[in-house]
């Protein structure tokens, strides 16, 4: 489906039974609107008790803070607050909301499915850093593997499926983080858009820089 727009791909997936991305349920058979987005935890709630919004742009505000009031600067965090409904009119509006809840995830999923996603392994990612982050490249393999298990994966609240390795010949050590399939609650994969991670995020790079500094100081 190379010539289809992302909105068309989403429309097709919704018609084919897609109903979930990250912590969000997408309902296509509800009376309230053609497309209803709701937090997975609120799926069985009385919808009249939730705050309903008709504007897809509201997604950014909803996803800005955790229920505890912390700033969610990584959107793959499993800390999306509940208590809301988005009542949307078209797949285009669903796409707009999803791009705010889980930025670029729809496009990455489509690219991953058709084999066009460009995966960058960690060593290449770290090697191309400049400025203060260039020191992140000095992190050891052991340190990098430890970081993956302390920064990535559902235990650390990131619910993305990691597509990258340390380098071409070094896979990630087996762990919950390396095994996670990007789908919350383990529902059938064709019912969900998995969140995929095509290269380490800048938060990870910042942590790698810290780790590298710790390793350097430990040697001194």
């Amino acid at each position: 489906m190379p010539n289809m727009s992302l909105t068309q791909k989403l429309t097709e997936a919704l018609a084919g039974g897609l109903q979930q991305i990250g912590q969000i349920k997408i309902l296509t058979d509800h009376d309230l609107a053609p497309f209803v987005l709701v937090h997975l935890d609120d799926e069985d709630a009385d919808f009249s008790s939730l705050n309903a919004h008709p504007n897809p742009d509201k997604a950014r505000e909803i996803g800005l803070y955790t229920p505890d009031g912390d700033y969610r600067f990584t959107k793959g965090e499993m800390s999306l607050p509940g208590g809301w409904l988005l009542l949307l009119q078209s797949p285009g509006e669903v796409r707009q909301a999803l791009d705010l809840f889980y930025p670029a995830s729809l496009g990455l999923w489509a690219a991953w499915k058709d084999g066009s996603v460009r995966i960058q392994n960690l060593r290449d990612k770290l090697a191309r850093q400049t400025g203060m982050y260039r020191h992140a490249a000095n992190v050891s393999d052991v340190g990098a593997q430890e970081l993956i298990q302390s920064v990535c994966g559902p235990s650390n609240k990131c619910v993305k499926k990691i597509l990258w390795q340390l380098d071409e010949n070094t896979p990630l050590d087996d762990s919950e983080a390396s095994r996670f399939n990007g789908v919350v609650n383990n529902i059938a994969e064709n019912s969900a858009i998995p969140l995929v991670c095509q290269e380490a995020c800048n938060h990870f790079v910042a942590q790698a820089r810290k780790k590298s500094k710790e390793e350097f100081e430990a040697k001194a």
């Binding site: 727009s5 992302l6 909105t7 742009d57 950014r60 800005l64 803070y65 700033y71 600067f73 990584t74 959107k75 793959g76 791009d99 930025p103 670029a104 729809l106 496009g107 990455l108 489509a110 690219a111 996603v117 460009r118 960058q120 191309r128 400049t130 400025g131 095509q198 290269e199 995020c201 800048n202 938060h203 910042a206």
Partner: protein, 281 residues
């Protein structure tokens, strides 16, 4: 003031606004989304998206969100420097004004802060923040961060000061560039200004600790231990009467809704410089 950009519609192209973003301050990326929403509302582009250095989507992820083959990339940055010259080209694999990469045609525009139409925006902001204050009795300070590391960040402000000074319609008694960390220091505003009124416009894209707290402390109307970010009242208590002068303090220039027009103007400038007769081919 008539301010609307004259950029013709580009119904086949996408606009990608690039911002810095923050892992600490949730207000940091709000202006970029506001600018994107405003431009989206005008229906000029097939798609309008944002991406960031410190937030998601990252620049590396951004192209996956875009269907259009032709993409205008506008750094929503206040000056040229490390990010616009090194980081953004590296992350988006740009090799010149126009780059063909991964099946897309990417046009890389200059950062918004260096566009001449920022001048009108600053003047508009002074009218909003200090209406009915006679410019002849006022000094306008444009405040930047200032650092020895990037001379371009101070150049963007000096250029704006010069542009305002040379405007025939300029009636300010004095227009000066000032900085947080290098001379002329904004903390010495009362000595730098000879007029009874002073208007201060922070030359930043987003409101954050610099505009909420650091500059107010330097100006003298907030204490060091003041409230943290998102305390926007500092912009709403004008005027401040201190050091025998009357001070009017503005929010960061990038929070001005008309910044959307500067983004569009920057695209029009790109087309004029790099794309031959885009409306006729």
């Amino acid at each position: 003031m008539n301010f609307s950009s004259k950029l013709p519609p580009k119904p086949e192209a996408a606009l990608l606004i690039v911002g810095h973003g923050s892992t600490e301050n949730p207000d940091s990326s709000a202006p970029y989304f506001d600018h994107a929403a405003e431009i989206r509302k005008r229906g000029l582009f097939a798609e309008v998206h944002c991406c960031f250095w410190k937030e998601e989507p990252s620049m590396r992820e951004a192209l996956y969100m875009i269907d259009a083959e032709e993409v205008y990339i506008v750094p929503d940055f206040i000056s040229e420097g490390y990010f616009t010259r090194d980081v953004i080209p590296r992350e988006l694999e740009l090799t010149g004004p126009t780059t063909q990469v991964h099946g897309k045609i990417l046009h890389y525009c200059d950062p918004v802060g260096i566009h001449p139409s920022m001048t009108s925006l600053i003047l508009q902001r002074t009218e909003e923040v200090a209406p009915e204050v006679p410019p002849e009795e006022s000094t306008l300070f444009i405040v930047g961060h200032g650092t020895g590391l990037n001379k371009n960040s101070t150049k963007a402000i000096r250029d704006q000061v010069e542009l305002i000074q040379t405007l025939p319609a300029n009636r300010f008694a004095s227009v000066q560039d000032t900085y947080m960390e290098e001379a002329p220091l904004i903390s010495e505003w009362d000595q730098l200004a000879e007029t009874p009124n002073v208007i201060v416009v922070p030359f930043f894209i987003a409101d954050g600790l610099h505009s909420y707290q650091d500059i107010p402390v330097m100006l003298g109307f907030e204490k060091e231990e003041g409230k943290a970010a998102s305390q926007k009242e500092v912009f709403r208590r004008n005027p401040y009467r201190l050091r025998d002068k009357t001070l009017y303090y503005s929010a960061a220039i990038g929070t001005e809704p008309l910044m959307a027009d500067v983004i569009l103007d920057q695209i029009a400038t790109f087309d004029a410089q790099h794309v031959a007769h885009p409306e006729t081919h």
